[in-house]
């Protein structure tokens, strides 16, 4: 705790906030049962403000935070600044990206409106990360209870674990609606105008919204952010009927648990659903176009993940093949999937299953945005942007006052990346240049155990090193050596650090193991803050915790330079 506080003090936070100080202070001063051994109260209070203001800002996913509601009382969604616009900022799309941008815009004193054509929360909250986490939480427990060997090793006996499909489905649905209402009320409390209808850009700084047709309202805004997100991508030849051939949208409702389901695509979405379905008793067949399962993961992590998440489970796979045609089940016939070789296009047989889940990725949802009115051409549907999320038109020129964040720009299709991009844009429009470092954005796959990563994979790092002429080193630690992991009987896991031995720069961290998704942030924050290994290795981790996996990882790195941080004023204890 102390270490992190002093760190945040020494590094100047990229964003400073003064208005919330009193609130944060009040929050921190509330009596809590925490006892920081030997920590002096006044040190804690006076030093902590900065660190807390940072953390409130960077938290991105939907959360109901008591801070914000209090903040709302202190400030309001002000009047638009000069220029005769209706709003300072209009955000098209109320997903996690739009929400993050809206909250930050209000903090910056901008008069803000957010447009939502469907439901607040977007994909993440309604049809993505949030309900899938609910399913994974339920199925993860199911898997654990069914694992007699695992239970026995704890000395526990469980008789006939079972589940109620509707109950599991309800949990996911309830979670989504709860988060959705939290999101809505957090924006309402801040005074963000929530406008309903689809938005169309009419020209520079001008757009209309509504149900389409003449009833639409035209508004003007100093700046506009496109945050319309994405929809599941369904390749040609695949007929989605929503019953036996489904996308993640349908699967999250968990309307039935098939005996045998084919999952087309073995990325995050496919992998998470394989975890859910196998835990609930289904058998799974993966169909992957690339030659290896889990493309996109660091190869070593992918290999280990395959050994733990695929091989011992009731899963088989076809790699290097496309599903060229998928016919839904009807007239007593099963779902029929025709396979062709990904390279030669030769037929590779058919697969007959009870259901097929299409998890081939996501396509940007940018139609009807009126991009043609400002001469912007999408690329495969994505809105082209520069590193500051400024939209680029067909002539390669920047469109003034127009930004695009999140899945719609395709830079990094993750909810928290969208939110971070939104905050970055708000920083820019409120007069402070800001470029988001995408290499510092962590990603996670919530299988059991989880996979998480930040920065470069080993092949990417080696390629970069060759190009730029530096050396790359790798170090690894195993969860097998971690006390907490062993106490949980979850020693299977690996953390891998890719770094520059000459400077101590962290290039990438990949974790596969218990709670990997929560562990990655120490590494992603280090990358974001530019903290080097030789400094972070002296930070102290509570024992016994899983975080010691990263502690060991940093300590095991061989860096050729010494610690650069100044000696901190000693604090008597």
């Amino acid at each position: 705790m102390q270490a992190s506080i002093s760190l945040s003090l020494s590094s100047s936070s990229p964003i400073t906030r003064s208005d919330c100080t009193a609130v944060a202070n009040a929050y921190l001063c509330t009596p809590r049962s925490l006892r920081f051994c030997g920590l002096r109260r006044e040190v804690f209070e006076s030093k902590s403000l900065n660190s807390f203001s940072v953390s409130t800002r960077l938290v991105s996913c939907p959360r109901d935070s008591s801070f914000k509601k209090v903040c709302a009382a202190l400030q309001s969604n002000g009047t638009p600044s000069k220029g005769g616009f209706d709003y300072d900022l209009v955000i098209i799309g109320a997903g996690v990206g739009g929400h993050g941008a809206a909250l930050h815009a209000v903090e910056k004193g901008l008069k803000t409106a957010i447009l939502e054509g469907d439901v607040v929360g977007g994909t993440c909250v309604n049809r993505g990360c949030v309900p899938s986490k609910a399913l994974l939480a339920a199925s993860g427990r199911m898997r654990e209870l069914q694992n007699e060997h695992h239970m026995k090793s704890f000395g526990l006996q469980v008789a006939a674990a079972g589940y109620d499909r509707q109950g599991v489905a309800d949990h996911a649905n309830n979670l989504a609606s709860k988060i959705r209402s939290n999101l809505t009320s957090s924006m309402k409390a801040l005074g963000v105008d929530i406008l309903t209808g689809t938005g169309t850009i009419l020209g520079p700084q001008k757009l209309k919204y509504g149900k389409g047709g003449s009833g639409d309202t035209v508004i003007t805004a100093k700046d506009i952010i496109i945050a319309t997100g994405s929809v599941p991508l369904v390749p040609k030849g695949i007929e989605v009927d929503g019953k036996s051939v489904i996308t993640s949208d349908h699967a999250l409702k968990l309307e039935f648990v098939p005996e045998w389901i084919a999952i087309v695509g073995s990325g995050y979405i496919g992998l998470e659903f394989s975890d859910v379905y196998t835990a609930l008793g289904s058998e799974v067949t993966f169909i992957e176009a690339l030659d290896q399962l889990m493309p996109g993961f660091d190869p070593e992590i992918g290999k280990l993940a395959q050994r733990v998440l695929i091989n011992p489970r009731k899963i088989d796979y076809h790699t290097g093949v496309f599903a060229s045609k998928i016919t839904p089940a009807k007239d007593g016939k099963p779902v029929i999937i025709e396979l062709i070789d990904a390279k030669t296009k030769e037929p590779k047989g058919t697969v007959e299953v009870d259901a097929a889940l299409i998890a081939t990725g996501r396509a940007p949802f940018t139609q009807g945005l009126g991009l043609e009115n400002i001469n912007v051409q999408t690329q495969r549907g994505f809105v082209p942007v520069d590193e500051r999320m400024r939209v680029i038109d067909a002539n390669g020129k920047l469109v003034p006052h127009l930004f695009c964040i999140g899945d719609a720009n395709g830079k990094m299709m993750l909810a928290h990346a969208a939110s971070a991009q939104g905050i970055s844009v708000v920083e820019q429009v409120s007069g402070k240049d800001h470029v988001l470092n995408h290499l510092s954005i962590p990603a996670a796959c919530f299988t059991h155990p989880e996979i998480s990563m930040v920065g470069l994979t080993e092949p990417q790092a080696r390629e970069k090193a060759e190009k730029e002429g530096f050396e790359v080193s790798i170090t690894k630690t195993s969860f097998k050596a971690n006390t907490k992991a062993l106490a949980e009987n979850e020693g299977e896991g690996l953390a891998k650090l890719i770094y520059r031995p000459d400077t101590g720069e962290i290039l990438g961290v990949h974790i596969f193991g218990l709670h990997a998704a929560d562990l990655i942030h120490e590494a992603s924050n280090a990358i974001a803050m530019g903290t080097h290994i030789q400094d972070i290795k002296y930070a102290v981790h509570a024992h016994p915790t899983l975080s010691e996996v990263l502690d060991e990882l940093f300590k095991s790195a061989k860096v050729k330079v010494n610690s650069s941080s100044p000696v901190v004023q000693p604090v008597a204890v």
């Binding site: 270490a3 002093s6 290999k303 009731k314 690894k476 604090v571």
Partner: protein
């Protein structure tokens, strides 16, 4: 603060928390050159502190082709699990250290042959090095001669055993394949051209080395599912253990047959068949069984047996016939529960009878035992037993039983308890018929031959009253066996 903690805390931390970490950036696989064509794969040193490694799993199986760079085996060191890759192309000829076992760093764990022909030579090399331990130069057949027969001759007994087991494997596989030809086309497979099997079924089949083409699927659209494979494996491996006592029987006959002596104090891993037995036995625990016993007077049956013995009738056939006749009147006892949700009413009455054969046991099936006369049934039984001894039973001759009999009477066992084979509804354990002093209803004491039978049944489909009624009928048939010869 952190500064202070650094100086006071860190050194005090126990060494176990600060274990040195693996720093290998690639996995050193040393494949030493023994002779020109066959290489040994050694246990690699995956970290500086590693002294021995445990084989987590073999990614490749024996006989499989390897390309340079393929992962062959997963080794668990003191730090982590690592894939070990092959540095050469070739065939994984033999695995010398099985999954789950450990070997010191540098010890050979497998042999890599350059071509398929040399696999046999590699196998010979193992046996020669294990039989003649001190032999300094284990060079088997001349390196230039990839002739498996010459190298097979050399090493002697142990090779004989290994080749025998190989051929046994082949025969059991081919018998399954033969079964496929005879079996009906299954609907999900385009006229039998390909196999539709669920992922788990395929996994199990691979694990047991079973050819899926021989199976008739019971899943939706005739797909082969896990339980089909399990049933087939149990049957194919002659491991449809019907009774714990029957397993005992095979043990008893073994020494007299002059079989191999057991190494005392050793731990011997299961063979594939024993694995199948183990799996089946564990699976049987998921079935809620109960038992009902009955004492049957056999004086009339014994008398009949004496009379028709000369015509080749066996006691087994008589018991099977009597059981089948009783089942005709109680079809529920001939049913089974396959999925936990429904009754499967079998159309035929097929009596499986557990037989101990050398090194295992098998359950030849007397099909339609209720319809075939006792003399034909006896002939059929003799034929099945001969075939079983020669390991020539076809799948439908050992895996189509609907009711199982297990008889340990010949050992003088008076009563025992049988385990229900998965997929069937009931099994009957038959004890010895012995002269017993009994009180009769008219108040007298007499000597009668009596045997005890004990039926184990799946209570999901067969209830206590069903079994009781069945046993009563069976007792009537046996006590008045005139129907048997009809």
């Amino acid at each position: 603060m952190s500064h202070l903690l650094q100086t006071t805390f860190v050194p005090a931390t126990s060494p176990s928390l600060r274990r040195p970490l693996t720093r290998t950036t690639h996995y050193p696989t040393r494949a030493l050159h023994i002779q020109s064509k066959i290489r040994e794969i050694f246990m690699p040193a995956l970290s500086s502190t590693m002294t021995e490694g445990k084989i987590v799993s073999w990614i490749k199986s024996e006989g499989e082709k390897l390309s340079k760079g393929d992962s062959v085996v997963v080794v668990e060191s003191d730090k982590a699990d690592m894939d070990v890759e092959s540095f050469y192309d070739g065939y994984l000829a033999a695995i010398m250290v099985d999954e789950g076992l450990s070997a010191p760093v540098g010890a050979p764990i497998a042999l890599l042959a350059e071509s398929e022909e040399e696999i046999a030579a590699a196998l010979a090399q193992i046996s020669s090095s294990s039989s003649a331990a001190p032999a300094p130069d284990p060079a088997p057949a001349p390196a230039t001669a990839p002739d498996s027969s010459t190298s097979n001759d050399g090493p002697g007994a142990i090779t004989g055993v290994s080749s025998a087991s190989v051929s046994e494997n082949f025969s059991s596989r081919s018998s399954v394949a033969n079964g496929a030809m005879g079996s009906s086309v299954h609907p999900a497979s385009e006229g039998g051209k390909r196999v539709v099997a669920s992922p788990y079924a395929k996994k199990l089949a691979k694990e047991f080395g079973l050819d899926l083409r021989g199976l008739v699927g019971s899943g939706p659209n005739g797909r082969v599912v896990a339980k089909d494979v399990e049933a087939a494996v149990a049957a194919a491996a002659a491991a449809k253990v019907s009774a714990s006592g029957a397993a005992l029987a095979s043990e008893i006959t073994k020494p007299s047959g002059g079989g191999t002596a057991v190494d005392l104090g050793s731990v011997v891993p299961f063979t594939t068949m024993q694995n199948a037995v183990s799996r089946n036995m564990v699976e049987s625990l998921s079935v809620p069984t109960f038992r009902v016993g009955y004492t049957i007077t056999t004086d009339a049956l014994d008398a009949l047996y004496k009379k028709i013995k000369s015509k080749g009738v066996t006691m087994t056939a008589m018991l099977a016939k009597a059981t089948a006749l009783a089942l005709v009147k109680h079809p529920i006892v001939n049913s089974s529960c396959r999925d936990g949700k429904s009754f499967t009413h079998n159309s035929n009455i097929n009596i499986a009878v557990a037989v101990a054969i050398d090194g295992g046991l098998i359950t030849p099936v007397l099909q339609d035992a209720d319809k075939i006369d006792i003399y034909s049934l006896s002939r059929k039984w003799k034929e099945l037993v001969d075939k079983a001894r020669a390991k020539q039973l076809q799948p439908h001759e050992y895996n189509t039983g609907t009711f199982t009999l297990s008889n340990l009477g010949m050992f003088g066992v008076d009563r025992f308890d049988a385990i229900l084979p998965p997929g069937t509804g009931a099994i009957m354990a038959v004890g010895a018929s012995q002269p017993t002093l009994v009180g009769t209803k008219d108040g007298r004491i007499g000597l009668k031959n009596q045997m005890q039978v004990n039926v184990t049944a799946d209570h999901r489909v067969i209830y206590g009253a069903d079994l009781a009624a069945f046993l009563q009928t069976l007792a009537k048939i046996i006590e008045d066996p005139k129907d048997l010869t009809l």
